[in-house]
């Protein structure tokens, strides 16, 4: 079943000649992703890891790409996203960090208008072991299996996925929502997909303090999800009002605390792990 993308999805990289674009297009190829082209204005005719480079997205649409990974500097992200949406690409993943959230809001609602998925910004992307990877998650930690993971964090996701894999289980789909104030996808988007995906039997939700997305996710799970769900919340120890790197981790006005999120999950029948490492055991 297709969860945003599958093994047939063709992927392009906007900004493929940059440091990140070069490295991760290569890693995606190694993972088995069909990376069919890339763009970098003024560099058409070159190739990166054997992938042909074009000036504009409109120049490579004959390759029928399904998805794009955008890796350009923050001031150019909005244009790149609109370029992809204008060309009709339906999955837009933004790798770039530090995109102004006002830009992301605009991109998000225009993506929705056009029936496109937005992933990121500032998240590790989506990985479907044995099928496809779009983004920057390390290739080595995955194993095909039936656990789906949705996470607001990057490295912490790898930690948890690695633990699941080492424990002998495997993953169906892993989605990094990103840590920005306005993520392209939220937990409910991911949970709907996981709930409908027949290859997914168990679900891990990796949240953070700040906002009320975890609380809403808990409510959604209580109402709709009959698969086993386990959660982890980072930031239990964060002192109120101190910034923790992610704007998403500002504790404001008494909402969005770790306590509130843990309570919401437990009331929805979702066990919450104390340590990331506990998750595999709780899934068994």
């Amino acid at each position: 079943m297709k969860v945003i993308v599958d093994e047939n999805s063709k992927v392009i990289v906007q900004g493929i000649t940059g440091h990140q674009g070069m490295f991760h297009s290569g890693e995606m190829l190694k993972f088995g992703t069909k990376v069919v082209g890339g763009t970098s204005p003024g560099k058409s005719g070159q190739n990166v890891n054997g992938i042909p480079v074009f000036d504009n997205v409109s120049d490579l649409m004959h390759l029928n790409p399904d998805a794009t990974m955008i890796s350009v500097a923050p001031p150019f992200v909005k244009d790149a996203a609109y370029e992809a949406l204008d060309a009709g690409i339906k999955v837009v993943y933004i790798l770039t960090e530090h995109v102004p959230f006002h830009d992301t809001m605009e991109i998000l609602y225009n993506a929705r208008r056009k029936g496109a998925w937005l992933l990121g910004p500032n998240g590790p992307g989506i990985t479907r072991p044995g099928k496809v990877k779009i983004g920057i998650m390390p290739n080595t930690i995955f194993k095909k299996g039936d656990v789906a993971v949705a996470s607001r964090s990057g490295t912490l996701t790898y930690e948890i996925v690695n633990a699941i894999t080492l424990d002998g289980m495997g993953e169906s789909t892993v989605i990094g929502l990103g840590g920005d104030p306005v993520p392209g996808m939220d937990f409910i988007d991911a949970l709907e997909l996981f709930n409908a995906d027949e290859d997914t039997k168990k679900i891990v939700v990796v949240g953070e303090i700040g906002g009320s997305n975890e609380e809403r996710a808990a409510e959604y799970i209580r109402k709709n999800v009959r698969k086993k769900v386990v959660a982890y919340i980072a930031g239990r120890s964060a002192p109120p009002g101190k910034r923790m790197g992610h704007a998403g981790a500002i504790i404001e006005r008494g909402v969005g605390t770790a306590e509130s999120k843990i309570k919401a999950f437990e009331e929805a029948g979702v066990r919450v792990a104390e340590y990331p490492i506990d998750i595999p055991k709780m899934l068994e």
């Binding site: 390390p138 964090s153 840590g179 964060a238 101190k242 923790m244 704007a247 340590y275 990331p276």
Partner: protein, 368 residues
């Protein structure tokens, strides 16, 4: 980034949101001749200025001069006052609350207002708060103002004024990439006019490249945090003794959480980010060492940041800074074997799992 009250009010003035007449001084010599009652407001980025003596009133030249001398250079809730805003005194009849902020759950701007302004919005009962999400593609439209003025039970005269302010407030929110633009209190003055008696404007730091007119200041941060920020690190000073270097905000938070659950007390939050360079690691040690921790924990899950790079950085930092503290390292993920080998050659044994590393560093720190 927080703007000072006077910066926010300059923006308001530019967008024709009414603000009191006033001017900024940073030395007593800049004070103009007294003509009418004024309020002298310390420009510090912290709430509760009034209660902490940071705001004074003057009804003649002498008290004005004294107020300025007294406030300039004083401390308000720990922050040094270097600028004052001297403004016409208002004849306050009523105080309202008005703001636009990002509603992160709905991923939309939200207009918040209340007839009960001037106090903390948190303590106002829900029923007295107007909340309205704004479609960011459509933007502000007058029907929202009509809904609000009805909620506020404003008469036609007040409603008209508020409906003139609202689109401009939304423009400020958009044009300045705001996380928050707040008027508290919005004052009904003796002359029947609405006027912004205070301003709180927070600009999304990620957008500062297009708002370079504002110097980057953030007095809520410690000098070390500011240094780290200028070098591009997410770094927060905490009260404990265990220095922490990790990669990724989530993993770093999870590391602190694990330390605390084991009764260890972290000295800091430091997220290496996703850049793969030994220099970044060495500089991170410099920052953490300046915080003078008792022990140091490095917790890396290699991805973009590769384990061997971090290992090389650790070795280099040890050499460069002659680190005395006990150092506990955990390496896992991309190039783990290579990284562990580098450390081993330099006498450091790295854990591959997080929990044993956490336990070890807490025991070194004398906790648990």
């Amino acid at each position: 980034m927080n703007l000072y009250e006077y910066q926010g009010k300059e923006i308001f003035r530019k967008f024709q949101i009414p603000v009191p007449d006033g001017y900024v001084v940073s030395s007593p010599s800049e004070v103009k001749s007294y003509t009418s009652p004024v309020v002298v407001k310390s420009q510090v980025l912290i709430g509760g200025r009034g209660k902490s003596g940071g705001i004074k009133f003057a009804k003649d030249q002498a008290t004005l001069g004294n107020a300025v001398k007294e406030l300039l250079g004083s401390k308000v809730r720990g922050l040094t006052v270097s600028k004052l805003l001297i403004e016409q005194m208002l004849d306050i009849r009523k105080e309202f609350y008005l703001s636009i902020t990002l509603n992160r759950t709905e991923r939309k701007p939200m207009l918040i207002a209340s007839v009960a302004g001037g106090v903390e919005i948190e303590s106002v009962p829900e029923t007295e708060i107007f909340r309205k999400s704004i479609d960011p593609i459509v933007g502000y439209s007058d029907f929202i103002g009509r809904q609000l003025t009805k909620f506020m039970k404003f008469d036609a005269q007040l409603a008209k004024q508020l409906r003139a302010i609202l689109p401009k407030l939304y423009q400020v929110f958009e044009k300045y990439d705001c996380e928050l633009v707040e008027i508290n209190p919005l004052v009904l003055n003796g002359d029947g006019k609405l006027i912004a008696a205070d301003s709180k404007v927070i600009i999304d730091s990620d957008s500062l490249y297009r708002h370079q007119e504002f110097p980057k200041e953030d007095p809520e941060r410690t000098p070390l945090e500011l240094e780290a920020q200028s070098k591009g690190y997410s770094f927060v000073e905490l009260e404990g003794v265990i220095g922490v270097i990790a990669n990724g905000a989530g993993l770093t938070m999870a590391t602190l959480d694990a330390l605390l659950l084991h009764k260890g007390k972290p000295r800091n939050f430091l997220d290496l980010g996703g850049t793969d360079s030994t220099d970044i690691v060495v500089e991170a040690f410099d920052l953490v060492l300046k915080a003078n921790p008792k022990v140091i924990l490095v917790n890396i899950f290699g991805g973009v940041t590769k384990c061997d790079t971090v290992a090389a950085g650790i070795v280099e930092a040890k050499k460069k800074y002659g680190i005395k503290q006990q150092l506990v390292v955990r390496l896992s993920g991309v190039r783990e074997t290579e990284g562990r080998e580098i450390l081993k050659q330099n006498g450091i044994v790295a854990f591959s799992e997080m929990m044993p590393a956490v336990e070890k560093v807490v025991s070194f720190a004398g906790g648990a």
